[in-house]
Amino acid sequence: MVRARDVLGVAILLALAILLFGIEPGRAATEAGVLSPGVEAAINGTDTGDTMTVIVELEGEADLGSIEATNQNILQREVIQELQAETEAASEQIEPFLDAREATGEVERVIPLWISTSLAVTATPGVIEDLATRPGVASIAPNKTIPEPATLTSSATTAPEANLDLIRAPGLWGLGYTGRDTVIASMDTGVDAGHPDLSAQWRGGTNSWFDPNNEHPAVPTDSSGHGTQVMGAMVGRDAGGTAIGVAPDAQWISAKIFDDRGFATTVGIHRSFQWLLDPDGTPATPDAPDVVNASWALPDPGCDLEFQDDLRALLAVNILPVFAAGNYGPDPNTSVSPANYPEALAVGAADNSDTIYQDGSRGPSDCGEDPNTFPEIVAPGVDIRTTDLFGTYTAATGTSMSAPHAAGVLAPTSRCGPTSPPPNSAAPW
């Protein structure tokens, strides 16, 4: 087992590697060698008998572009099956080797990350080095550690609902679009499912909560508050006396990518994206959410395409990944990944008077695309009244709070179209 101190140590080594070489772990590895510098550093820091976790990126890419489906349910199933089949085929070459080393105890665990044609492998340094020489392995990237976004809360009280009035959410409710029959997912620190403004909208069952860190496998939990604040802005109701959520009738599910100490890993995030596509592990049942909100970013501004395959898979099933633009402003060129991928909807923040939030990340960005403006859009993100731990309320600030406004608008609007019958109270649409 890897002790906590060791994890931090790896993180520090990785940070040094990024500074020293000025390259991104993972993607750059394919040019510099199969083993990324981050992994080499981690190998050197791991005892030969200990195990470490890496992401083995396989050669091969799922062909999502050619999938044609007559409806959304079939599309979801076919995208998932194509991703899974591609990863299974791509891992055939190294499977006998992994099986043999699993028998000797040198391989502790192998988790398919079919969303990005990769495997999360927990094994000894010797096995990792051996893997790097094997055909079918494109690159080996470290399982990086990502700290949760800082939560800025204040006691400032703004007029209730000012943020919702500004974006004219009540007008949408008046038309019947309150998010009913839609599902919003968050990737965050968890959700306090006991909050009176949130408890009724949890979708429930065994396919509505995912904890890749396995600290709270069954019941939605949040030990930080960040995830509860974000969820409140999306689906919060009015138990506190004022309406706080953009889509108060939407159901929610959540992947708790950050553990109770506030750290996420790249493997855990890949697994969470994968869970979002197929929460019950059965491709034929269409239980993916309508909208995904991601109020998190990699630790430093810049471009790291680690999760690009994951976002592409979401887009392939018509889920627009909504990302907080990041809080690395006000300087130009402070965009951060994954928000700055072309696949993401990057949401910056402004206050309720439409004045830009000083610390929001600014563009332009050329991450995975030609230089483009960044962020893509802004939403209220300063002193947003929302749910907090223990059934309380707080005023939260940052692009983490603006992104859920966009996700909350998408939930009902993603369901309407020129041919949709207008919703009414008698007939759910």
Partner: protein
Amino acid sequence: MRPNLTAAEQRSALVGSAVDLGQEGPDNDYGFGRIDALAAYDSITNQPPPDTTPPSIDIVTPADGVTYSRGQAVNASYSCQDEAGGSGLASCQGTVTDGSAIDTATPGSKTFTVMATDNSGNEASVTSTYTVDECTTRGTLAGETLTGTAGDDVICGGGGGGDTIKGLGGNDILKGQGGADKLLGGTGQDLLDGGSGVDTASYSTSLTAITASLATNSATGEGSDAFVGIENLLGSPRADTLTGSDTDNTLTGGDGNDTEQGGAGPDTILGGGGADELFGGGGNDTVNSRDGINGNDSLAGGPGTDTRVTDAREKSIVGFP
């Protein structure tokens, strides 16, 4: 139950309806602006219904059913239009580009097709069928004179009415078509086709004597000609031999010592100048030898009740009442 909108449509609904902030247009602080839930909804629901109507196509030239002369310069003229409120015209392409020359190089039935698509992928296609006739020159008026070239021509009278068509040199085809036409093949091997009406094969400009027969529908002397639908013959100023058919013919010898032989029909035989030998043949013919010179012509009426018009004295007159 899943979204009706694709991810791209969701993105454009949010981004396209945002309230522009900061500097005009997208910028690196506010992007496309601040989100507006109601405007996003409006931008989706106010989209026009799907366009299922194909564009309309108007072909001005070539109009359906028209006939052009071979080699005639005709430029295509057509236009396409998507319906009001439609998704807009995406393409409009004819057999040739609008304003370019259409195919009139060879005779026959031709088609000209214009295809149009709109931005929703609806397709339309309209075809005009036109005919290129074999005429290299085509008349448009009644009673005009059409003149060919020294080469091979196909000249059509067109337009109705009696036309005068001159083939000049070359192996020509002269088509009188409607009306009482006068066809002058000129030199070369010509085909003289009178069409409807009472038409005349004329050798009035021939420099050589002619032997022409409406019984065999052929003539030699000024080249070698064939006749179709010719009722009358007009000889050259030389000593011609003109022969009628079994129908009603007018044979006109003109100057020169001509021999003219009517067929079974009621013919009119005109000797003209010179010492002519005129035979009415069967039928009630009119034989006219009057040329102001006494005693030079011979007339024979033949069977039937014939009429003669002569000078005061002729060389020989037989077979008249």
